[in-house]
Every structure is written in structure tokens, then in C-alpha cells.
């Protein structure tokens, strides 16, 4: 009978083979280091882990770096596309103590966690405070924490509002107008849906919530109290508005399962009047031959009348991994990859928002990048997600609660009260008894 259950036993040799191969691969570089002879100087290896699209985008600059620096050998590893999956991969490497990379492209939402875990090396010895001063206000945020600079920003992306130029003369000025325009277009049968965004239970929903909370004058995180403020009347009003979009049919129920791509696909197919997404979506729409190509405008996030709107910061930056054998060379790589030259190329070829103010003033870029002005405008009122090591828990439970609201499991006031209660629980349990919280430091 054991012979009957062939599949598992068939797989076993393959699993063993894979493990062997993986072990060999892990051992090989180590062997290479120790076996290096003094007579023939090998270039110093610097390895960077990035999500695949960004790794592809910096392939040419990386080759140029290698040509300019014969003593250093920069290799860029293509990681998973999905932000959380990339973090899982990086963490698996970091937990083992000897990470297979010297530099990591860090999402703004991971920074506090990685810094608290002790995986990063501070950068202020190499980059003085004047470095960030030459960047747009939004790009300066989310890099420093405590007294240290943990990351040099490479991109300045924020959440943006996409609208259809063929359906309306100008973008909406506030949330009321957005809903009114959407409903009018839906009534007249011009579009099936009004407004599409990301409602799946994942980090993207937290990004949407940051913007909606801001739009109604609420704040998720109070840095002074190091606590959440999710049960204020403003926060409940924000949740009520989001819930109302689905109940009034402006947004489809299916949005509760949408990530960036599902929302983009539907909008690019001409099914909706508005879309919330990152800058990459514009390029995706324009490069295809879809029904809305050339009919899409981009603007900053709208707010309720009388409030200041703002897009969620989704910036990437390079961090130095503690334990790297060659920090000096790795910092040279940071300087090169985050420098204006590479950022100009990333903006022209991939549409990533630059962080350096002077790039926004270049006439050539302004002319060739229709999104540049809006991207700069968005960086004036950016919304930072809570900068706390507990962010992953807080975001996970907020996304869970709001997703419950969207799928009609709970009412807005209940959902937000419950999110606040659970957030406080998490913060309390993580901090533990006061003596313990600092014991490990």
C-alpha cells in the first residue's frame, strides 16, 4: 500500500536533490571568498536585492557602474514583484544571520521594523543631513528614524487619482464631486462603475485607508502618543464614506478582492470613471492599445470639502545590511543608484517619480514626462504610514477590519472601534512589561 501512494515518494528524491543543490549554491560563494588568492585581486562583490521590475530598470545603470568601477562587481538580484513576498524572502535571508545580499531595496512600510530588528547599518556617516534637503518634502520622509538615517530613497512614488478625460472636462475637486460625477456617468450608462481602488485584505487596502482617513481629517497614527487614533468621529466618517461607495454601487462589491492589477485591468478596459493607483499604472495604460489609451488624466488625491488630500507614500530606498563585508563599496553603489543620473533614467524609462528636486526642474524631463508635475505636487502633501516597528501588525488588523466592513460583516463605527481596540492590544502586548521592552537593547 505504501507503494500505491506513489506521488509523495516520487517527490522525495527531487526534494533531496533540490535541497542539495540549494546547499551547494549557498556554499559556493563562501568557498569562493575563502579560496581567493592574494596574487590575482578579484573585484569586490556587492549584491543588491530588488523587486524584479526595479531590478530590470537598474540593469543598465548597474552595468555602467561596473564599467566605471573595475574594483567592484555589482550584481542585482531580481526578487518577487509583490512587496510583501519580497519582504518575506529578505527576512528569511536576514534571520539566518548571513544574508546573501549587501544592499536591500526597502519599502517605506518596512523601515521601522527592519531598523528595530537590527538588520540595517545607519548611513549618516556617509550621507550628511544636507543630502535629504535637496529632495522633495515627501521623498525626505520615511528614511530617518530615531537619530539615524537608515535608507537613501530611490523613488518618490505616491498614490494618485486617475480620471477619464473623455468623460469629464476636469478632475473632481473633492470627494463629493467625485461621487457626483461617477453616479451621473453611471446613470447615463457611460461607465459601469464609478471609482475603483484596492479593497483586498492586504497592504494595498491600508494604503487606501491612509488616504481616505486623511481626506476626512482623521489620522491613523499619533506619533506623539505612539498610538493609533482609529475610533475618532473623523475616522468613522472616512470608513462610512468608503463603505458608502460600495453600498451606492459607485464601487463594485468585487473591489473587496481587488489588488492594484485587478483594479487597473478593469479601469484600462474602460469600465470605470476613476481609479486609485500608483504611477506605474499610467505607463501600463499608455503602452497598450486599450480602449482608454490617451483618455486618462492623473491628479492628486481628493479630500472631503475643506480638507487637504494626500497620497500614500510608497517610496523605495536602498539600505545597507548589517554584516556586509564591504560597507564602503556598498555605499558607493547606493550613491550611484540613488543619484540623479540613474533616477532620471528610471523616470524616463519606467515612470518612477524622482526624489531630487532639481530633476523636477529640468525642462527636458518636464516635457517628456506628462506625470512629472502631478508627481511633484503629490510629494508636497504625502501621507506616511505609521513609522513603528509594530506597523506590520497594525496594518494587518486594519486591512482585516476594513475588508470586513467592505464585505458587510460589520458597520463602520463598529469596525473602526474594533480596529482601535485591537491596535491598542497589539501595542500593549508587544511592549510587554516596561522593563522587558528595553531589556534586549
Amino acid at each position: 500500500m505504501a507503494a500505491r501512494a506513489t506521488p509523495p515518494s516520487l517527490r522525495r528524491p527531487q526534494v533531496v536533490l533540490c535541497l542539495l543543490a540549494a546547499t551547494l549554491l549557498l556554499l559556493l560563494p563562501a568557498y569562493g571568498f575563502s579560496g581567493r588568492s592574494e596574487a590575482t585581486p578579484q573585484p569586490i562583490p556587492v549584491r543588491v536585492l530588488m523587486p524584479a521590475p526595479l531590478a530590470d530598470a537598474v540593469a543598465a545603470p548597474a552595468a555602467r557602474f561596473n564599467a566605471l568601477h573595475p574594483g567592484v562587481r555589482l550584481t542585482v538580484t531580481r526578487g518577487p514583484l509583490d512587496t510583501e513576498t519580497l519582504s518575506d524572502l529578505a527576512i528569511s535571508g536576514l534571520l539566518l544571520g548571513d544574508a546573501p545580499f549587501d544592499l536591500l531595496l526597502v519599502d517605506v512600510s518596512w523601515l521601522a521594523k527592519y531598523a528595530a530588528a537590527g538588520w540595517l547599518l545607519p548611513l549618516e556617516d556617509w550621507f550628511g543631513p544636507e543630502v535629504l534637503a535637496a529632495m522633495e518634502p515627501g521623498a525626505r520622509l520615511g528614511n530617518a528614524l530615531g537619530d539615524h538615517l537608515w535608507r537613501m530613497p530611490l523613488t518618490g512614488d505616491t498614490g494618485l487619482l486617475y480620471w477619464r478625460t473623455d468623460l469629464m472636462p476636469r478632475p473632481p475637486r473633492d470627494t463629493d464631486e467625485l461621487v457626483a460625477i461617477a453616479q451621473d456617468l453611471q446613470r447615463r450608462g457611460r461607465v459601469r462603475w464609478g471609482y475603483l481602488w484596492q479593497g483586498r485584505q492586504y497592504e494595498g487596502l491600508s494604503c487606501v485607508m491612509v488616504e481616505v482617513l486623511q481626506a476626512f481629517g482623521a489620522r491613523w497614527w499619533d506619533p506623539a502618543a505612539a498610538s493609533t487614533r482609529l475610533d475618532t468621529p473623523q475616522a468613522v466618517a472616512a470608513a462610512t464614506w468608503l463603505d458608502g461607495l460600495i453600498r451606492d454601487g459607485v464601487t463594485p462589491k468585487a473591489v473587496a478582492g481587488f489588488a492594484e492589477n485587478e483594479a487597473l485591468q478593469s479601469f484600462a478596459a474602460g469600465e470605470a470613471a476613476f481609479l486609485r493607483n500608483w504611477p506605474y499604472a499610467w505607463r501600463e495604460i499608455e503602452k497598450g492599445d486599450g480602449p482608454v489609451k490617451g483618455k486618462v488624466g492623473v491628479t492628486t488625491m481628493v479630500a472631503a470639502p475643506g480638507q487637504q488630500g494626500g497620497g500614500t507614500l510608497g517610496t523605495w530606498g536602498l539600505s545597507l545590511i548589517r554584516g556586509t563585508p564591504h560597507p564602503q563599496e556598498a555605499v558607493e553603489v547606493i550613491r550611484w543608484l540613488t543619484g540623479p543620473e540613474v533616477q532620471r533614467q528610471l523616470a524616463l524609462e519606467q515612470g518612477y517619480a524622482p526624489t531630487w528636486s532639481r530633476l523636477y526642474e529640468e525642462a527636458d524631463l518636464q516635457q517628456r514626462l506628462p506625470l512629472l508635475a502631478v508627481q511633484r505636487q503629490a510629494l508636497q502633501h504625502p501621507q506616511l504610514r505609521p513609522m513603528t516597528p509594530a506597523y506590520a501588525q497594525l496594518s494587518d488588523l486594519l486591512a482585516r477590519q476594513v475588508n470586513g466592513l467592505l464585505t458587510a460583516q460589520e458597520r463602520p463605527a463598529e469596525a473602526m472601534a474594533s480596529a482601535q481596540r485591537q491596535s491598542l492590544q497589539v501595542l500593549r502586548s508587544l511592549a510587554g512589561p516596561p522593563a522587558l521592552a528595553t531589556a534586549g537593547r
Binding site: 518575506d88 467592505l406 534586549g440
Partner: protein
């Protein structure tokens, strides 16, 4: 003499078992009474029973435990019933039996991740094939993965779809050990097909059924990849399993003390359930043996 040699020969296996099973358990036990999170710089700091206290009050853990149990019982029950039916059907001599058996095994051969991505596409609203079918009947497309009830249904369905062939194959192997002349003899005595099934086939299949039950119960109580890919635990956490919760605590939240506590609690839960199942099966087997003796 002989027994000493025997225990000596067993030693390597026991050592291996200790290394891969007992050591991790002890380590989890030790970690579960420590705080080891981003706030302690990932260093273990003793915190008494704080993790276990938190577990007792953690509504999400108990909700996930309920969801995991419900998932395991429903899918294993369906798999056993469906697997038995499929095995009986495949056991019957007919043309192309080999091909049919190979075809039936196909879902089991697919990697779970690929299979789950496939289901996610099938259920996509509005572009998935299932919604295309709905629309061709004039109905509106339906957000299957945005409603807890339908999401749960399809999580169970996709699990049953994938592992039913495994159960069927196990039971088919069992069916082939039943001598054909026993069935022949019963038939000559005038027994109906139902009587043959209840009086002969099922009792003799019992060891195989219980094996499939224990195998599948252990697997489905630890379900992770299917749920991670198909729903990510959503909507609103309604399909989150204990394994997914433990994974989140360790890899996303970097709260290793609590992750160890959740894992250990899950293991204890599994132990109690499997032990209970095994005792129940033994009692059933005993009762049956007495019955047939009488």
C-alpha cells in the same frame, strides 16, 4: 542480548527523530515563554507565561482554530466519502481502467500553488470563466472571493478537488487486497450489493480508511499554501488558518515568541484530535470485531 542489539540498531533512527522532531518542539516550548520580537531586538527575553496568557485572550487565534477545524472536518469528510465512491467506481473492471486511474490522479499531481492560482482565476470577478458561464445564462457576475460564505465553499471545494484522488488511490489499494473469492462466496449465498459493501468491503477497508483519515486530518489541520495563495486568509480573515496565523506572526510581524506559542498550541490541538480520532477508530474496530465474533 538480542534486545540490546535491537535497541542499538534503533538508535540512529531515534536520534534522527529527536533531531528533527523533539528538538524543534523543545525549542518552541522554550521560545513560547520568551518575548522575542522587534521590540527586544529579536533577542529572547523571558516573559513568563505572557505569551500563553495572550493566546488565551486572543480572539483571532480561537476564531482561526474554529475555522481550521471546520475546514479540516468538512474537507476530510467529503474527501473520504467521495474518495470511497471514486475508488469503488475505479475498482470495477472496465475498458480503459488504467487511463481512468491516471486521469483521476491528475489534480493530486499538480502543485498546490499552481492549482490555487488556477482557482483564483476561475473565480475572478468579472473576467473568470465561472462568471462567463453565469453571464451566458443572463445572470450578473458574482464576486465569489469577496463573500465569506462562497469563499469558504470554494476553499473546501478546491481542497477536495485536489486531494480526493489521493484518498481514492489509497482506498483503491485497499480494495485490491480484498480477495475476490470472498465477494464471490457472499454473492453465491445471495447477498445484495449493499450487503456486500457493508458486511465485507467496508470492514476490510477499515485500516485503509483510518489511515486516509489520519493522513488527511493531519494535513488539512496544517493547511497553509492553498489558503495563502487562493484567499490570503480573507475576506476579513474568514478563511485564515492557524498555520497562516503562525506564519504571519513569525515572518511578517517578527514576533517569534508568540509565533512559537501559536505553533505549539496548534500542535497540541492536533495531538488531541488525532489521538481522539485514533482511539475512536480503535473502539469502532474493536466493536466490529466483537460483533463479527458473535
Amino acid at each position: 542480548m538480542r534486545s540490546r542489539l535491537l535497541s542499538l540498531l534503533l538508535l540512529p533512527a531515534l536520534l534522527l527523530l529527536a533531531a528533527v522532531f523533539v528538538y524543534p518542539l523543545l525549542r518552541y516550548g522554550w521560545l513560547s515563554v520568551h518575548a522575542s520580537s522587534v521590540l527586544t531586538g529579536l533577542l529572547p527575553v523571558p516573559n513568563g507565561g505572557a505569551n500563553w496568557q495572550r493566546l488565551a485572550d486572543d480572539a483571532r487565534f480561537w476564531k482561526d482554530a474554529g475555522q481550521t477545524l471546520r475546514f479540516a472536518f468538512c474537507s476530510v469528510a467529503l474527501e473520504l466519502a467521495g474518495g470511497l465512491a471514486l475508488a469503488l467506481w475505479l475498482h470495477r473492471p472496465r475498458r480503459g481502467r488504467g487511463l481512468l486511474r491516471a486521469l483521476a490522479l491528475l489534480p493530486w499531481a499538480l502543485p498546490t500553488t499552481v492549482m490555487a492560482l488556477g482557482w483564483r482565476w476561475i473565480l475572478n470577478d468579472p473576467h473568470g470563466p465561472l462568471n462567463a458561464v453565469l453571464r451566458s445564462f443572463g445572470a450578473d457576475s458574482y464576486a465569489f472571493l469577496s463573500t465569506p460564505a462562497t469563499t469558504w465553499f470554494f476553499v473546501v471545494l478546491s481542497d477536495v478537488w485536489k486531494t480526493l484522488p489521493f484518498v481514492a488511490l489509497l482506498l483503491l489499494a485497499g480494495l485490491q487486497t480484498i480477495p475476490a473469492d470472498l465477494e464471490e462466496a457472499l454473492r453465491l449465498e445471495g447477498a445484495s450489493r449493499r450487503q456486500i459493501l457493508v458486511r465485507l468491503t467496508l470492514p476490510l477497508l477499515m485500516p485503509y480508511l483510518s489511515l486516509a483519515l489520519l493522513f488527511r486530518l493531519a494535513q488539512s489541520l496544517g493547511v497553509f499554501d492553498l489558503i495563502q495563495v487562493l484567499t490570503g486568509g480573507g475576506p476579513a480573515g474568514s478563511t485564515e488558518s492557524l498555520a497562516l496565523y503562525a506564519y504571519l506572526n513569525a515572518m511578517r510581524f517578527l514576533d517569534f515568541g508568540y509565533a512559537a506559542t501559536v505553533t505549539l498550541a496548534t500542535f497540541l490541538l492536533l495531538l488531541v484530535l488525532l489521538g481522539g480520532g485514533w482511539l475512536l477508530l480503535r473502539r469502532l474496530g474493536g466493536a466490529r470485531a466483537q460483533e463479527s465474533a458473535a
